[in-house]
């Protein structure tokens, strides 16, 4: 994990450990991650598969099979999308500190995160609207290629072709900019 070298905010130090926390290997949640169009003010285990029962709707949108499910009386329509090539989803939890106090006391200040599970796809659900390529969550994937283009090191030829038009640029001005994106659900 990087330290913010930024000039605007006080540096925040934290770590994210993406290795599986225990010896048995990573828990694979592929096919079991659901993104609902609501905020459920509950954090903890829940018998999801006993109550949340997605069913195929028979409708195909942008090549994806639309599913139907109900939550709190509302009808949801969703599709399962794979994460883009080269990406992996993680469920993070606060890292427990050895011999530490209760995890609750830790919650507020720890910035050390550990992977609890991994996933390669997720199902996102809309209330009342058909899923489509225009949904913000799918459009978020655009950022991956843009970020890639922004942060790719610039080689000598590219620099030469640019500088001939726009004047001198410091070699590393583009590649050194650190942008960290995390979107909240």
């Amino acid at each position: 994990m990087e330290e913010t070298t930024g000039n605007t905010r006080a540096g925040i130090v934290g770590t994210i450990d993406l290795r599986a926390g225990d010896v048995t290997g990573a828990v694979d949640l592929t096919g079991k991650v659901h993104l609902l169009p609501c905020s459920i003010k509950h954090d903890g285990p829940c018998p999801v598969s006993h109550y949340f029962k997605p069913k195929p709707s028979g409708v195909l949108v942008d090549g994806l099979n639309v599913e139907e499910a109900f939550f709190r009386g509302r009808k949801l329509q969703g599709v399962t999308v794979a994460l883009p090539e080269g990406f992996q989803g993680y469920v993070l939890g606060k890292k427990k500190v050895e011999g530490g106090k209760s995890s609750e006391a830790m919650d507020g200040d720890s910035s050390c995160w550990q992977s609890r599970a991994e996933f390669g796809n997720f199902t996102y659900w809309n209330h009342d609207t058909m899923p489509s390529k225009e949904d913000p969550i799918l459009r978020c994937f655009h950022w991956f290629s843009i970020a890639n283009a922004l942060h790719k090191p610039v080689n000598a030829e590219e620099l030469a072709s640019t500088s001939s038009i726009d004047g001198p640029w410091p070699t590393n001005s583009v590649s050194s900019a650190k942008v960290k994106e995390v979107h909240t659900f």
């Binding site: 913010t4 905010r9 925040i12 169009p37 609501c38 905020s39 459920i40 003010k41 509950h42 829940c46 018998p47 598969s49 006993h50 109550y51 949340f52 029962k53 109900f70 939550f71 709190r72 009386g73 509302r74 009808k75 910035s111 209330h127 009342d128 913000p136 969550i137 459009r139 978020c140 655009h142 950022w143 843009i146 960290k180 994106e181 995390v182 979107h183 909240t184 659900f185």
Partner: protein, 294 residues
């Protein structure tokens, strides 16, 4: 529902009655039923002793239903509206109220019977909402048919009484044989009548409530009865409610969306989803927010 080939009498002028069962209950399907026969058969129909299904004992209703099913001079249809669909429609962004659902169901039955090839000339309907407005709506949709829309039509017109038996027996059987979608352990099917005042129904609701999921999908979440349980449930805030806070209010049995599942504290709308506020359009459109802590 009726027998496959169209009976000969169906090309004579026919009358039909439409009635509903299970409009009030907090759980289970709502059923619309219709019964039709040739106008010339009306006298016989009167002698079959149909009465408003509510005034009959269950066994009597079952018996009458079996009789009318066996009667070659009578046709019937039902529309069973799943409680999931009722909840979903009443909790849509643009809410569909129960009257509208009822009207659509009744009109669906008329269309279905016409499509079979039955020559409907008169249709008797128990009213939902304002009788005259309802009559005009039906007449505009089906100009060739004379509609009689009345309160208590089920006790005034034998053809509607018959329809009420079709609907009521179908609703009772559907509830009796209901298979719960949910697979949690310890669930049972002693639903009672489904009316909010029925102690058995109350006990069932109380036993099957769930802090996160609310209730099994058998329950009509849009019913006022469910509000009293919201304190036992975790708060759920919907993105769609934030989008159209000023949605119209409707039927008294319908909940205002803002009351659904609200318990204790309220949080800021920013909690529901990220906004990308104050950032470039690219990020706003994708709701990508820059955060420094999480």
């Amino acid at each position: 529902m009726g027998s496959a080939p169209l009976p000969k009498w169906a090309s004579e002028p026919c009358i039909m009655g439409i009635d509903e069962a299970g409009r009030g209950p907090v759980l289970g399907p709502m059923v619309y039923g219709c019964l039709y026969c040739a106008c010339s058969y009306q006298k016989t129909l009167t002698s079959l002793n149909f009465a408003d299904s509510k005034t009959l004992k269950e066994e009597k209703r079952e018996e009458l239903f079996e009789n009318l099913k066996a009667d070659n001079c009578i046709g019937w249809e039902v529309d069973i509206i799943d409680p999931k669909e009722l909840s979903a429609k009443m909790l849509k962004r643009v809410k569909i109220n129960l009257n509208e659902i009822s009207h659509n169901s009744a009109m669906g039955l008329v269309s279905r019977v016409l499509d079979i090839g039955v020559l409907l000339t008169e249709v008797y309907v128990d009213t939902v909402g304002d009788a005259e407005k309802y009559r005009i709506k039906l007449t505009e949709r089906f100009p060739g048919i004379k509609f009689v829309v009345a309160k208590k039509a089920d006790s005034l017109y034998p053809v509607v009484s018959g329809a009420s038996i079709v609907a009521k027996v179908t609703r009772d059987r559907a509830l009796r044989d209901w298979v719960l979608d949910e697979t949690a352990e310890d669930m049972h099917r002693n639903f009672g009548s489904g009316y909010p005042g029925d102690p058995e129904t109350k006990a069932w609701l109380d036993y099957h409530k769930h802090p996160v999921f609310g209730f099994p999908t058998l329950v009509r979440f849009s019913w006022g009865t469910c509000t009293s349980y919201s304190k036992d449930m975790v708060e759920v805030v919907w993105e769609s409610d934030k989008l159209d806070e000023d949605g119209s209010s409707s039927g008294k049995r319908q909940l205002k969306l803002s009351n659904v599942g609200v318990s204790g504290y309220n949080r800021k709308s920013e909690d529901v989803e990220s906004s990308g506020k104050g950032r470039s359009k690219f990020f706003q459109a994708r709701k990508l927010e820059l955060i420094t802590e999480f």
